[in-house]
C-alpha cells in the first residue's frame, strides 16, 4: 500500500472575478522511504498540494474534486478533529522560512515539549528527554543548553533544524517540506538536505519536497513531478526524467537552468510562457546614441576600486550590548575594464551588495578610493562631474516588485532619469521610452500602465529600461534574477547578454548563484565576510578554484547536470 495516493485532485479558489483553479486533476503516489519532488515555477500549484494534504488550504480555497488517500484512508472523509490528529502525528510539515516558523515568545524546548505532550501523551520529563533526543538527531550541538533558548538565539540553518525536529516530534510517516532550503545559503542548504535524506532512511519517512530548484531535485529526490499552472506535466523517476524529459515544457524548463559545467552563448528561450513577443535577438546597437564601449581605448580601466572598507556601527539599537562595528566590506580592491562583465559572488552577508551601494554612492566608504575613468567618485563631487557619473552608472535591483514605484506610470518611471538629467524634454523623453519598451519586448500600451499590471519578468524589463534610459556605460546588476523563475531568468539574462555583446556595456554582476555567474561573467570575485578571497577569470574559477572557500562553494552547489 502506498503511503499517500492522490487521485485527480483539484483545488479552486473562488473569487468575484471567477474561480481560480490552483490544481487540476493532479495525481501522484508516494511510498514510504521515498522522496518525491514537486517542481514548477511560481503559480504552478506545487505548495497547494502540501496544504491540501494537510487540510490547511487558505481561505477561500477548497478541494473541488479528487481524493487523497493516506495509508489507504481517505482524508476528505475525516472530521476536522481527526484531521488535526493526523497532522503532526502522522504527517509533518516544514516551511520555507525558518526565521518566522517558530513562536518567538516560547523557548525551543517549550515548543517541542508542548507538541510531544500533545501527541504522545507523555509526562513532562519524558517529553523533555524525547525533545533532547530529537535535537540531537537533527544535529543541534549542546542540546541541553539549546533547549532552553529562544528562537532568536538560533541561526537560520539551526532554526530549520529545530523546525524539522518539531515536525518529527510524533514520528510522522509523511513529511511535507515546502521549499525548505530556499531561504538558506548554499552551504547550509546542503546540510539540511543531507539531514532530510538521512532521516528518510532511518525512519522510512515519505517526503514530499516542494522546490523550484532543479539542482535540489536532482540531488535529493527519488521521483519528481513537474507541474505547470496547476496541471501535472510530467512525472517519473528523477534520473530518468532529468536525463530525457518528454514534455516540451520540461525540456524548455531544463534548458533554461543555467549550467555550471560549461559556458553557453545564450539561454534557450521559454518565451511562450510569458506572453511577451518572441525575443530572439534585439538590435540595440542600431539606435544606441550612447557611448559604445567596443570602440573605447583601454588606457584607463572603467572602474578602479582600491582598498575600500565600510563598517556598520550598530546604531544605538536597544538590542545591542556593545556597539561593535561589523565590517561589511573589508579592504576590497578590484578593477573593471571596458566591456567586461565583472562578477561578484558570495553568500548572504558577504558584503557583495554593499559594494554595489558603495559604487553607486548610497554609502560612503570609511577608507579607500573608487575611480571611474580615472576620476574619483567618492565624497563630495563637483555637480557636473557627479551628474555625469550618475548618468553613466546605473543599477538593476533584485526585487522586481519593489524596485519600481507602484504609484507611477511606466513611462514616467523610465522617463524620470532622462528628465532629471535634462537629456531631453518631456516629449523627447516619452519617445525614448517608447523605443526602450520596444527594445525590451514590451508593448507600447505599457507606457501608460502602472507596474502592478505586469508580471515579475516584465517589471524587471521595465527596471532595465529605466537603467538604460540615460545610456549608461556601467551597469550594476544586483542579483537581477534571483527573485524570478528560471524561464524568466533566462529571458532577462539573455537581454543582459545581448546588451553586453552589442554595446560592449560594462557590467558588474552580483549573484549568489554560481551557475549564473559562470554564464554571465568574464571575471569573478569570490567574497566572504567582507573580503575578496579569490579574484580570477570566470572559467578558471570553475575549473581550478584556488581558495578553499571557493572550492567548498563549488562543491556544495546543487547541480542537476552533475
Amino acid at each position: 500500500m502506498s503511503l499517500i495516493e492522490i487521485k485527480n485532485l483539484s483545488v479552486s479558489y473562488p473569487s468575484r472575478r471567477g474561480v481560480f483553479k490552483a490544481l487540476q486533476q493532479v495525481s501522484l503516489t508516494l511510498q514510504a522511504g521515498e522522496i518525491h519532488g514537486l517542481v514548477g515555477e511560481s503559480g504552478a500549484g506545487k505548495s497547494t498540494i502540501g496544504s491540501a494534504i494537510m487540510g490547511l488550504l487558505e481561505h477561500p480555497g477548497e478541494i473541488s474534486g479528487g481524493e487523497i488517500h493516506f495509508c489507504g484512508e481517505s482524508i476528505g472523509e475525516l472530521s476536522d478533529s481527526a484531521l488535526q490528529q493526523l497532522r503532526g502525528s502522522a504527517i509533518g510539515m516544514i516551511f520555507q522560512d525558518p526565521l518566522t516558523s517558530l513562536n518567538p515568545l516560547m523557548s525551543v524546548g517549550q515548543q517541542l515539549i508542548e507538541t510531544i505532550c500533545y501527541h504522545l501523551k507523555l509526562s513532562k520529563s519524558a517529553a523533555k528527554e524525547r525533545a533532547l533526543a530529537l535535537l540531537k538527531e537533527v544535529d543541534i550541538p549542546q542540546p541541553e543548553v539549546r533547549i532552553n533558548q529562544y528562537p532568536h538565539q538560533f541561526s537560520g540553518g539551526m532554526r530549520q533544524r529545530v523546525v524539522i525536529a518539531l515536525a518529527l516530534c510524533s514520528e510522522p510517516k509523511l513529511l511535507i517540506a515546502d521549499e525548505p532550503t530556499t531561504a538558506l545559503d548554499v552551504s547550509v542548504q546542503a546540510q539540511i538536505l543531507e539531514l532530510i535524506k538521512r532521516l528518510v532512511k532511518k525512519h522510512q519517512l515519505g517526503v514530499i519536497l516542494v522546490t523550484h530548484d532543479m539542482g535540489v531535485i536532482a540531488q535529493t529526490t527519488d521521483k519528481v513531478t513537474v507541474l505547470f499552472r496547476g496541471k501535472v506535466v510530467e512525472s517519473g523517476p528523477t534520473q530518468q526524467l532529468l536525463a530525457a524529459p518528454e514534455h516540451r515544457y520540461t525540456q524548455s524548463l531544463l534548458s533554461a537552468v543555467p549550467r555550471s559545467d560549461k559556458k553557453m552563448p545564450r539561454f534557450t528561450q521559454v518565451s511562450w510562457l510569458d506572453g511577451a513577443k518572441p525575443l530572439d535577438k534585439t538590435d540595440f546597437a542600431r539606435d544606441w546614441q550612447g557611448e559604445n564601449n567596443l570602440h573605447q581605448s583601454n588606457a584607463v580601466p572603467m572602474l578602479e576600486v582600491k582598498n575600500i572598507s565600510l563598517s556598520f556601527k550598530a546604531k544605538s539599537s536597544i538590542f545591542s550590548k556593545t556597539a561593535a562595528p561589523t565590517k561589511a566590506v573589508d579592504d576590497v580592491s578590484f578593477t573593471v575594464n571596458y566591456g567586461e562583465v565583472f562578477g561578484i559572488v558570495g553568500e548572504s552577508g558577504s558584503g557583495k551588495s554593499t559594494i554595489a551601494r558603495l559604487i553607486t554612492r548610497l554609502y560612503n566608504p570609511d577608507s579607500g578610493s573608487i575611480h571611474y575613468r580615472g576620476e574619483s567618485v567618492v565624497g563630495k563631487l563637483q555637480k557636473q562631474h557627479l551628474q555625469n557619473f550618475r548618468r553613466r552608472c546605473q543599477m538593476i535591483f533584485q526585487d522586481p516588485y519593489s524596485s519600481i514605484n507602484p504609484r507611477m506610470r511606466v513611462r514616467d518611471i523610465i522617463a524620470e532619469p532622462i528628465l532629471l538629467y535634462g537629456l531631453n524634454d518631456r516629449n523627447g523623453a516619452y519617445q525614448r521610452v517608447a523605443k526602450l519598451l520596444d527594445y525590451l519586448g514590451l508593448e507600447q500600451a505599457a507606457a501608460v500602465k502602472y507596474p502592478h499590471e505586469f508580471s515579475g519578468g516584465q517589471r524587471q524589463r521595465i527596471s532595465i529600461a529605466r537603467a538604460l534610459a540615460t545610456e549608461p556605460s556601467l551597469l550594476i546588476c544586483d542579483e537581477p534574477t534571483s527573485a524570478l523563475d528560471v524561464s524568466i531568468q533566462a529571458q532577462i539574462l539573455n537581454i543582459l547578454k545581448d546588451l553586453q555583446s552589442e554595446l560592449g556595456l560594462t557590467m558588474i554582476f552580483i549573484s549568489h548563484d554560481l551557475p549564473v555567474i559562470r554564464q554571465m561573467c568574464d571575471k569573478v570575485a569570490v567574497m566572504k565576510a567582507g573580503k575578496i578571497v579569490e579574484l580570477t577569470e570566470s572559467e578558471t574559477l570553475f575549473t581550478a578554484a584556488q581558495h578553499s572557500y571557493s572550492q567548498s562553494l563549488l562543491k556544495l552547489m546543487p547541480d542537476m547536470h552533475r
Partner: protein, 322 residues
C-alpha cells in the same frame, strides 16, 4: 537586506487611477467591490454625504437663518417639535431658548463642526505627514527628536492640549481678539493634538517604503530629496493617511463638541453642535429635551458615519487582511 514583498493591488488600484478610465477603474476595484457588498457602509456613506451636503448648503436648505438676529423672536423660544408660533411659522424640531429653529441651528451648527473638524484634520495631516516623512527619511537625531516630541504630545490627550492652547491663546490674544479668532484657535488646538497619529503612521510606512529598491534607485539617480519624499514615498503611504484622516475627522468633531461643551469652543452666537448640546443640556432636566437631544443625535450620526467609514477603510486598505 530584508525583502518585504507587500504587494498591495487594492490600494494601488484605488490610487493608481488612469484618467481616461477612472470611473471604470473605480467600479472595477476591489475596494469598490468591498464597499458595495457591505450595506452598513453604503448607508454610512450616504448618511455622511447627506449630512455634509445639508451642512454646507445650510444657507439654501435650512428653513430659517438662525444667525440672523433680526429675524429671531424671543417669543418663539422653547417651542416643542412640530409647533407653530404666533406668527404662524412652523418648527419641525422645535426651538431653543432664544427662539432659534432647532433644525436650522443643527444644519448651521453641523457646518461649523465640520469646518473645524475638516480644517483641524487637514492641518494635522499636513503637519504630521511632513514631519513623519522627514523623520523617516533623515533618521538620526532629527527622527529621535521628532518622535520624542510626539511622545510628549501623546502623553497629553487631545482635550488637554486643546484646553491648554485655548487657555494660552485667550491669555495672549486677549478676549476681544479671541472671539473672532476662536475658530482658528480651535482648529490649531485640535490639529496640534492630532498630528502625532499621522506622523507615526507615515513614518512607519515611509520607513518600509524607503527600504524598497525604488527609493534606492531614485537616490542613485540623484533625485533631490524633497522630490523623493513627495513623488516617490508620499504616494505610497497614502492608505494609512487616508484611514487616519477619516477617523481623525470623527475624533476632531467630538473634540470640538467636547471643548464647546466645556465652554471653551465656538462662541454661542454661531454655535457648533457641541455648543448646541451644551446650551440644551441645561434644559434636559426641565423636560425641554429637544434642545439637546436633536443636536446630540445628529452629532452621533455624523461621528458614527465617519467612524464606520474609517473602520471599513482600515480593513479594506490593509493588504494583509485580504
Amino acid at each position: 537586506m530584508e525583502q518585504t514583498n507587500s504587494h498591495t493591488p487594492t490600494a494601488e488600484q484605488m490610487i493608481a487611477a488612469d484618467n481616461t478610465t477612472l470611473i471604470k477603474r473605480i467600479m472595477d476595484s476591489d475596494i469598490f467591490y468591498s464597499f458595495i457588498r457591505s450595506p452598513l457602509i453604503v448607508i454610512a456613506a450616504m448618511l455622511c454625504l447627506t449630512l455634509i451636503f445639508s451642512a454646507f448648503f445650510a444657507p439654501w436648505l435650512a428653513p430659517y437663518d438662525p444667525f440672523d438676529q433680526t429675524t429671531l423672536s424671543l417669543w418663539a423660544a422653547n417651542l416643542p417639535p412640530l409647533s407653530t408660533d404666533e406668527d404662524g411659522l412652523f418648527y419641525l424640531l422645535g426651538t431653543d431658548n432664544q427662539g432659534r429653529d432647532i433644525l436650522s441651528a443643527i444644519m448651521y451648527g453641523m457646518r461649523t463642526s465640520l469646518i473645524v473638524g475638516l480644517a483641524a484634520v487637514a492641518f494635522a495631516l499636513v503637519l504630521g505627514t511632513s514631519l513623519g516623512l522627514v523623520a523617516a527619511f533623515f533618521g538620526g537625531w532629527i527622527d529621535s527628536l521628532l518622535m520624542r516630541i510626539a511622545d510628549i504630545q501623546l502623553s497629553f490627550p487631545a482635550i488637554l492640549v486643546a484646553l491648554l492652547i485655548d487657555g494660552v491663546a485667550k491669555a495672549v490674544l486677549g478676549t476681544s481678539q479671541m472671539e473672532s479668532l476662536a475658530i482658528y484657535v480651535l482648529i490649531l488646538a485640535i490639529g496640534l493634538s492630532e498630528w502625532v497619529q499621522f506622523a507615526r503612521a507615515v513614518r512607519a510606512a515611509a520607513l518600509v517604503e524607503q527600504r524598497k529598491e525604488y527609493v534606492q534607485a531614485a537616490r542613485i539617480m540623484g533625485v533631490p530629496v524633497p522630490y523623493i519624499m513627495l513623488r516617490h514615498i508620499l504616494p505610497n503611504v497614502v492608505s494609512p493617511i487616508l484611514v487616519i484622516a477619516t477617523i481623525s475627522i470623527a475624533v476632531a468633531i467630538i473634540t470640538e463638541a467636547t471643548l464647546s461643551f466645556l465652554g471653551v469652543g465656538i462662541p454661542q452666537t454661531e454655535p457648533s453642535l457641541g455648543t448646541l448640546i451644551r446650551v440644551g443640556g441645561n434644559y434636559l432636566m426641565s423636560g425641554e429635551w429637544w434642545i439637546t437631544l436633536f443636536p446630540g443625535f445628529t452629532l452621533v450620526l455624523l461621528v458614527l458615519s465617519f467612524n464606520l467609514l474609517g473602520d471599513w477603510l482600515r480593513d479594506a486598505l490593509n493588504p494583509r487582511l485580504k
